[in-house]
């Protein structure tokens, strides 16, 4: 059978198409577009190059392909030739501190930069230095502070117990403030700080917000101070102290100007409670109030009449120049009084320093150094809580809180022993 006949037969069995039928009624179907021609997949390797490269004058022909030693192993053995050993290190911002032992690169620290760019999972710019005595903790912190000053940071040393920061202050032409018996400097830990500025002109909501911050800080401080005397500071004591503070400042009376409070005033108010105070604290009688708050009063009294008397019980006389590159508060004169006294002083200073740095202006970058912090931690869990509260706020304040201690168990020891 010829191919032409077969074609004709197939055509006859196929029948008439739709186009043909429609044309009988005088219509024409629109023509179908032919499918786009698929481009031929040309071989992209159109140039021939030998295994040793190109030949020719100065063509760099490789006479011998590298005879690398090849091994065969199953996939779980490839860890033996793992090449990603040293990391890239941290970004090259901030104070240059030394050589990264692991990567071999220059190591620089920029805690706020790390926090802002989420480098290495850093979410808070605080730094804690642990190390045995004499291993260079304070020296490293001084290096860090000095080198960060080139990038606009200012440093506040809250309690220089051994006068280690004095030479640095002198080199920067700043005289440190000394706190001690017989010296004129006084620190009021219940200072309002910048939160008390322009109080009369503040909107109501802002005034309430600031008052909450101030009272919260004070309560935290008093909790730490009372706890350091081995006296529990429960919710009942907190209610009483809070009420006294609101009364003394005038906040309870709706005064438009907050009065400055000192710890002796607080102690005095608890010793001679008014009827309103007894009633507000829901005690049956005045005697009941006095009996219940005796441990609290005695603990506060130790601060007022004890070996720290005359240091933290009067309005602040220290005038801090916040534009200076560094400010230091020396506590070396308290060293003979023992570690516990120094710890209490550090707690007071920390609270005061927190007030001073609580309302930082945008772009005001600050480093707050808390050296020999273990002395404060030994005072008990409440002192540690007070420190912890300071550290938690630094993310918002644009402030690098530096804590120097001996070992992490400093915190644990105090928590378990008290």
């Amino acid at each position: 059978m010829s191919s032409r006949r077969i074609g004709r037969q197939r055509q006859s069995t196929r029948g008439r198409g739709v186009a043909h039928l429609v044309s009988d009624f005088g219509h024409e179907l629109p023509p179908l577009l032919s499918p786009p021609a698929r481009p031929a997949d040309v071989d992209p390797f159109d140039t021939l190059v030998g295994r040793r490269g190109r030949t020719g004058q100065a063509a760099g022909w490789a006479a011998v392909p590298a005879p690398l030693a090849v091994y065969r192993m199953t996939s779980e053995q490839v860890g033996g030739v793992w090449p990603l050993i040293a990391g890239d290190g941290l970004p090259p911002g901030g104070a240059l501190l030394g050589i990264d032992y692991l990567s071999g690169g220059a190591f620089s620290a920029d805690p706020i930069g790390w926090t802002l760019s989420s480098v290495a999972g850093v979410t808070n710019p605080n730094m804690i230095f642990f190390g045995a005595p004499g291993r260079g903790k304070s020296g490293t912190v001084k290096m860090f502070a000095l080198r960060q000053m080139a990038y606009g940071y200012r440093t506040l040393v809250l309690g220089d117990v051994k006068d280690e920061y004095e030479p640095l202050c002198r080199a920067l032409q700043v005289r440190p403030h000394a706190v001690g018996h017989g010296l004129p400097a006084r620190i009021n830990p219940l200072d309002f700080g910048p939160l008390g500025n322009d109080w009369t002109r503040l909107p109501r909501a802002e005034a309430r917000r600031r008052a909450a911050m101030v009272f919260s800080r004070w309560l935290l401080l008093i909790r730490g101070l009372v706890g350091s005397q081995h006296v529990p500071f429960g919710p009942t004591a907190e209610t009483a102290v809070g009420q006294v503070l609101r009364d003394l400042t005038g906040y309870a009376d709706g005064a438009d100007r907050m009065r400055e409070v000192t710890i002796p005033q607080l102690w005095q108010a608890l010793r001679a409670p008014s009827d309103e105070l007894v009633d507000a604290c829901r005690y049956a009688t005045r005697q009941h109030f006095l009996d219940e708050t005796r441990p609290l009063r005695d603990a506060l009294g130790a601060l007022v009449t004890g070996h720290l008397a005359g240091l933290f019980d009067a309005p602040t006389t220290v005038s801090v120049d916040w534009r200076a590159p560094i400010q230091s508060l020396s506590l070396s004169r308290l060293d003979p009084l023992g570690d516990e006294a120094v710890g209490v002083a550090l707690t007071c200073l920390n609270s005061w320093g927190r007030a001073m740095t609580q309302l930082a202006e945008p772009g005001d970058l600050r480093i707050v150094i808390r050296d020999e912090c273990w002395k404060q931690m030994r005072l008990g869990t409440d002192a540690v809580k007070s420190l912890d509260a300071d550290l938690r706020l630094s993310r918002n304040d644009g402030c690098i809180q530096v804590v120097i201690a001996h070992k992490p168990s400093d915190m644990w020891d105090c928590c378990t022993s008290r």
């Binding site: 490269g53 011998v64 590298a66 690398l68 065969r72 053995q77 033996g80 690169g105 606009g152």
Partner: protein, 509 residues
């Protein structure tokens, strides 16, 4: 690979081309037999004098064929020397770039020497959420496609044993995945330790240094920057994925054909590799290089000192768009290189010595290569590239099966011949058996090669620094083997992240 307290020791590896019997390949045995044939024929014809005269010649030929000298047989050494001599005499082995000769016509055309001369790069179609255009590299020499990524990894210095083990398993899973898909022929991991030029820090300081800061702080910062920049090092890491044309040809045609079609198939592979790198391997970032990035990576491979200028221009372009920060591919290679010396390679103002690393029989722990990547003096650049070739399960099964049979045959011959079965023989047999078991458990068979290199300015003694590199390799528990007569191609394998250098497997697809 159990969860023991100490670090895991890896070591169940064997040479890629194990001896068929007595450490010699079948080809070597045939050569030895053929060399001895005249002696046998003479003896058969009772021409004893001739047979006796041929015996020393046969012995010499057998030694030349069978005894390896520094990894190669004497015949191979002779052949390599001859080729090098011919190349040098004809003037083929020295190099001058087209840019240096003033004949560069197309600046997008890669102009690289030797084994890299088959490279052509293409901009792929947009990839990923940022619509980047990774460079797709075509190697006309081997008919392969490749893509390169710059990776950042935190390293394993601070990692616990369990974390290290997990990362090792992550790399193994990556290779097993590559073996399963049967597309990837080579995964090359390259790490460079190079002198810190301080370019990034200088750019950061430009924007952050306060003029009103205390002079003491500024002075200290400036002095330290000068000292530490000289002393410090930086790390760069690249991963290269190579896919042969033959394996993706059909898929590429379905994806539209041409370079774009190939790129689309490659993108699928890249996504898979990237997910594994960022996941279990522990990389913090994977950036697939576009043409300027690739050109920069190649250029800094040849000339580490150029990195400062390139990095500074790249940072400066963000503030001043008039700055030309893009390096054309035509300028990526060296401008000139004399014929490679026997033991080192000169390229522009630098010279390099390259070794391959012999893995120890006793095994190695993860991170043992650390001394190899640690420069001995400031200004020295170290590079290491580890090539992985995942082998498909069918081929792996056949290869291990053959090896197992050879091992059993050799054991049997030794036993029947009355030879002692030594501990090394038993160990090798156990390795083959272990590979067979692990293969059955789902692991992949991988060919692995390591090339390491040191690069210093030409004014420094490369003999000295080459020796230091070899000392570092020895100190890390491995054994160095300087790739004599092949320093140019060895340099390309160790320092240029294009995935070129792993010797081909016979019959590889």
């Amino acid at each position: 690979m159990t969860g023991s307290a100490g670090p895991v020791r890896y070591g169940s590896w064997s040479k890629d081309k194990p001896g068929w019997f007595g450490g010699l390949s079948a080809r070597a045995w045939i050569g030895v037999a053929l060399a001895g044939l005249p002696m046998l024929l003479a003896a058969g014809a009772n021409r004893w004098l001739l047979a006796l005269a041929w015996a020393p010649a046969w012995a010499v030929l057998a030694v030349l064929l069978a005894v390896p000298v520094r990894g190669r047989s004497t015949f191979r050494w002779a052949l390599d020397s001859l080729l090098r001599g011919v190349g040098g005499a004809l003037g083929w082995t020295d190099w001058q770039s087209r840019a240096a000769a003033g004949t560069a016509a197309d600046l997008d055309d890669a102009d690289l020497p030797g084994v890299l001369s088959g490279i052509r790069t293409h901009d792929g179609p947009p990839f990923g959420p940022l619509l980047a255009r990774p460079a797709v590299i075509a190697d006309h020499r081997e008919r392969t496609w490749a893509v390169v990524a710059r990776i950042a990894h935190p390293g394993i210095g601070m990692s616990e044993t369990t974390a290290r083990t997990r990362m090792g398993i992550g790399l193994a899973e990556l290779l097993e995945g590559a073996a399963t898909t049967e597309l990837v022929s080579v995964v090359a991991l390259q790490v460079r330790t190079l002198p810190d030029d301080g370019a990034e820090r200088a750019a950061w300081q430009q924007t952050h240094l306060r003029p009103e800061a205390p002079p003491l702080a500024r002075a200290v910062t400036a002095e330290l920057a000068a000292v530490m920049t000289q002393a410090g090092v930086r790390h760069e890491a690249f991963v290269t994925v190579v896919v042969p044309e033959r394996r993706i040809h059909r898929q590429a045609r379905e994806a539209g054909g041409g370079v774009d079609g190939r790129a689309r198939v490659l993108y699928g592979v890249m996504s898979e590799i990237e997910a594994r790198l960022v996941g279990p391997v522990g990389c913090t970032s994977v950036t697939w290089l576009d043409s300027p990035g690739l050109a920069s990576a190649i250029r800094t491979g040849f000339a580490p000192g150029d990195r400062a200028g390139l990095a500074t221009a790249e940072l400066a372009v963000s503030t001043d768009s008039r700055i030309a920060a893009v390096l054309p591919m035509a300028a990526a290679g060296p401008t000139a290189a004399p014929p490679p010396e026997r033991r080192h390679y000169v390229h522009d103002a630098w010279h390099s010595a390259t070794c391959t690393v012999l893995l120890p029989d006793k095994g190695a722990v993860m991170g043992a290569l650390a001394p190899v990547l640690t420069p001995t003096t400031a200004g020295e650049r170290r590079c290491a590239t580890v090539f992985f070739e995942p082998i498909s399960s069918t081929r792996a099964d056949r290869m291990v099966g053959n090896e197992s049979m050879s091992s059993e045959l050799a054991t049997e011959i030794r036993r029947r011949g009355g030879f002692r079965d030594r501990a090394a023989h038993r160990r090798d047999a156990a390795r083959v058996e272990g590979q067979d078991v692990r293969l059955a458990q789902g692991n992949a068979l991988v060919r692995v090669a390591v090339a390491v290199s040191v690069t210093v300015p030409t004014s420094w003694s490369i003999t000295d620094y080459g020796r230091r590199l070899e000392a570092s390799v020895t100190g890390s528990g491995f054994k160095p083997l300087r790739l004599d007569l092949a320093q140019d191609s060895a340099f390309a394998a160790a320092c240029i992240p294009l995935g070129i250098g792993l010797p081909r497997r016979r019959g590889a697809q």
